[in-house]
Point group: C2
Chain length 166, copies 2
C-alpha cells in the first residue's frame, strides 16, 4: 500500500533565514551596507553567493517571462551543477520561488515561496528549483549566472505534479 502524500504546496513568505540552505534573498536590507559616492549612495554589499566553476564566468542577462496562475501544477524542477543563478525583478511585482532539498540525487518535497515587492533570489549551485514564475502579468528579470561551456542543466520530472496554492 502506498503512503499517501499531501501534494499541496502552500506559498510561504520569503525570508533570508528560511531560504539560506537554498540560496540568497537579494534585497536592500541587512547589516553589510556602507555609504559610497561621498555619502550620496548606500551599498547593500555582496548579497549573493555567486559561483561559477569550470571555464565559466558570472555574467549578466535579462529574462522576460510570461506569467502563471495559481493554483499551478509543478511537474518539474531543475538544477545547475556548474554555477549559481540569480533572478532579480526589474519591477515591483512579486513572483513565485520554488526550491527542493536534494535527497540522494533527486529532489525531495518542494517548498514554494512568494517574494515581497523588490526581492530577488540567488539559487546556490546544484540547488533544485522551479522555473521563472511571475504571476498575473509578464515580468523582466536580471539574471546573474554562469556563462560558459559544459553541461550545466539537470532536470527532474515528477511522476505526479505538486499543486502550488496561495
Amino acid at each position: 500500500m502506498n503512503q499517501v502524500i499531501d501534494r499541496t504546496l502552500r506559498l510561504e513568505k520569503l525570508t533570508a533565514e528560511v531560504f539560506a540552505p537554498f540560496g540568497d534573498v537579494i534585497e536592500a536590507a541587512g547589516a553589510g551596507s556602507f555609504d559610497f559616492n561621498r555619502g550620496m549612495a548606500r551599498r547593500f554589499h555582496d548579497l549573493a553567493r555567486t559561483e561559477a566553476t569550470g571555464d565559466g564566468r558570472i555574467g549578466v542577462s535579462i529574462g522576460r517571462a510570461q506569467p502563471y496562475r495559481l493554483p499551478l501544477a509543478l511537474d518539474m524542477v531543475e538544477r545547475h551543477p556548474l554555477g549559481s543563478q540569480a533572478f532579480v525583478p526589474l519591477g515591483r511585482d512579486p513572483f513565485v520561488v520554488i526550491v527542493a532539498p536534494d535527497e540522494g540525487g533527486h529532489p525531495g518535497r518542494p517548498r514554494a515561496f512568494v517574494t515581497a515587492p523588490g526581492q530577488g533570489v540567488n539559487y546556490l549551485r546544484n540547488v533544485w528549483h522551479g522555473v521563472l514564475t511571475p504571476l498575473d502579468r509578464p515580468a523582466d528579470f536580471l539574471i546573474v549566472d554562469r556563462i560558459g561551456t559544459g553541461v550545466n542543466l539537470e532536470e527532474h520530472r515528477f511522476e505526479e505534479p505538486w499543486a502550488v496554492v496561495a
Copy 2:
C-alpha cells in the same frame, strides 16, 4: 596663453554602438536571445563583458542612490583596475552615465549620456566613469561587480569641473 576649452557636456542618447568602447548597454534587446522554460520565457543573453581579476569574483549588490539635478558640476571620475562594474536600475527612471577615454593614465574629455527607461550599463575594467547619478528622485540599482581584496579604485579630480547639461 591657455587654450580655451568648452567644458560643457551635453547629454547624449545612450546606444550600444556609441558606448561600446566604454562598456555595455544592458537592455532587453539584441540578436543574442533565445527561448527557455518551454517557451514561457525569453533570455537576452550575456549582455555584459563582466571581468574580475586577481582573487576577486563577480558578485551582486544593491546601490541606493540620492538624485542629482541638472546642470551638474562634474569634478571627479573614477575607475576600477581589477574588474568591470554594472549598474542596472530596479525601476524605470532614466539616469546619467558619464565616461571618459583614457589619455596616458588620465581621463580625456568626458561624455555624458542619459539612459532610456530600463537601460543599464556595464563599465569595462579600467574605464573612467562618473558616480551613480539618478535624476529627480532616489533610485535603486543592482550592482554586478568584482568583490575581492586589492586596491580596485582610482579617482581623478578635475582641476576645473565640467558642466553636464540637458
